[in-house]
């Protein structure tokens, strides 16, 4: 039986390398596509994807399934890496340094894969954008921007319970989309 993302993350936290591989292969196309469509340099898109998955390994133990599905958590990491790289005009390598990874030589096949992902693979950001507007705004504000339910409720002039419900439903829909794709 196929393990869920949340089961895989729990397994990664206990040292299950196969669990990590499954998670990596399941989400690499969407993560690569996310970056490939937002940065022009294909090598930078590769680097951002590498940094995102290194951050997944570094913080696997901190993943809390009660705060939302793993894919939303992954999107949050990817989004932060992209914002940082735009602000600093370079791709940071903090997570890779923390893990003391050796540099990866990018091959032509990798660049073709990034190119291909940019053209065809579904993109995490687009899946969020395709959610109904109230769900999309709530998911983006809570998961990507890491704002509290109270703050979001105050902005949207509604109760915290309503925001929680929108985030919950938005994430559930996102998870269903991804399940259909895999």
């Amino acid at each position: 039986m196929q393990r869920t993302d949340e089961e895989l993350m729990a397994a990664v936290a206990t040292g299950d390398a196969d669990g990590f591989s499954t998670f990596y292969r399941r989400h690499l196309p969407a993560v690569t596509a996310y970056f490939a469509r937002r940065v022009r340099n294909r090598e930078a898109a590769f680097d951002l994807a590498a940094e995102t998955f290194a951050a997944v390994v570094v913080s696997a133990a901190r993943f809390d399934p009660e705060r939302g599905p793993a894919v939303a958590w992954l999107l949050g990491i990817a989004s932060h890496k992209l914002t940082d790289s735009i602000r600093r005009e370079r791709v940071e390598s903090d997570a890779r340094r923390r893990l003391a990874l050796q540099p990866v030589s990018i091959t032509d096949a990798d660049l073709e894969r990034v190119e291909e992902a940019a053209g065809t693979d579904p993109d995490l950001g687009e899946l969020v954008a395709a959610l109904p507007p109230d769900h999309r705004d709530a998911v983006t504000a809570h998961v990507v921007d890491e704002r509290s339910y109270r703050e979001i409720a105050s902005d949207l002039q509604c109760s915290e319970a309503v925001v929680r419900q929108r985030v919950h439903r938005g994430l559930r829909r996102l998870r269903e989309h991804l399940k259909e794709m895999t």
Binding site: T14, G15, F20, L99, P103, S105
Partner: protein, 313 residues
């Protein structure tokens, strides 16, 4: 192997390597929770609440914590240092493999190299630096690097690799009463650790860090490396030097390499540079106009090509 495959391979190794470090806080959390709840006289209810989660991985994690508690007094599983924190330096000598790969390790370290090892004992995260395992290397462009050898990967976790078989035996003892799904996950996790320990046995980690002119690490905050390469790889990056963009190509090579030939593959003239490598490390700065595709060829003293690598930034 593509870059994506290499990345996956490296991250898989790190997942297994990091796991034992992460389990300590979980163990402590459980011990504290159990103690509090015991004093409240609610052991049964507490056990259900703490141990029995809805998901098999969480149950596996708790099972591993139980195994960890049950074996923590076995000598092989005792934390290595009395305060349960890993030591910074290892007194192990460099292995024959390292001595063969880096002849510089055969000479006694200088005072500066000893001091570097002492003050950067955690240069590679939780790995411990060999007390005599730092050597300063000079590239032909005048830049200086510090080569640092660390005690076998994963050895800085505070417990001996011999603990894993003990924990596996304890887990097996619990098999008849354990949840089968959680048991299978826990066993896979311990087996992965055992495999990683076995594969890393006798192998040292290697970090090479660029130094500033004053001898301090050029990396951020002096904690981690600025350039981390391993033997057999090279790196290329685009840097701004004195306001001009430059391609910086660097790498660590085997002792048999006499010089490197660096060639632009994207510039129409295919310019080519030869650089001697007297101390196993090279660093070459090229104008950015030479493009993003570079090849690096290792050559022996007689001009024989030993290896060619194609790099892109």
């Amino acid at each position: 192997m593509t870059g994506f495959d290499d990345l996956e391979r490296q991250l898989r190794g790190k997942v297994a390597e990091l796991a034992p470090r992460r389990r300590w806080p979980l163990i402590r959390t459980f011990v504290i929770a159990a103690a509090v709840l015991t004093s409240a006289g609610a052991v049964t209810a507490a056990a259900t609440g703490v141990i029995g989660g809805p998901d098999a991985n969480r149950r596996a994690s708790n099972l591993l914590n139980d195994v960890g508690r049950a074996t923590e007094d076995v000598p092989a599983c005792r934390p290595r240092s009395p305060d349960r924190r890993p030591a910074l330096l290892s007194s192990l000598p460099a292995s024959d493999l390292a001595l063969r790969a880096f002849p510089q390790l055969r000479r006694p370290p200088t005072g500066r190299e000893r001091e570097f090892a002492r003050s950067n004992g955690r240069i590679a995260g939780m790995k411990r630096v060999l007390s005599g395992g730092a050597r300063e290397l000079k590239a032909t462009d005048g830049s200086r690097f510090m080569l640092t050898i660390t005690a076998g990967r994963g050895s800085g976790i505070g417990r001996s690799p011999d603990c894993v078989p003990v924990q596996l035996a304890e887990l097996q003892r619990r098999a008849p009463t354990a949840d089968p799904q959680a048991f299978a996950i826990a066993r896979r996790s311990l087996e992965a650790q055992e495999r990683a320990h076995r594969e890393n046995l006798g192998r040292e980690g290697l970090v090479i860090s660029q130094l500033r002119p004053d001898g301090s690490l050029a990396g951020a905050a002096g904690t981690y490396t600025d350039v981390a390469v391993r033997l057999g790889t090279a790196s290329i990056e685009l840097a701004r030097v004195d306001g001009n963009p430059r391609l910086v190509v660097s790498g660590l090579v085997p002792a048999t390499v006499d010089h490197v030939i660096i060639r632009s593959r994207s510039h129409p003239d295919r310019p080519r540079f030869r650089r001697p490598v007297p101390q196993q490390v090279f660093r070459v700065m090229l104008p950015a106009r030479y493009g993003n595709r570079i090849s690096v060829q290792w050559r022996a003293a007689d001009g024989r090509a030993l290896r060619t690598m194609k790099l892109r930034w």
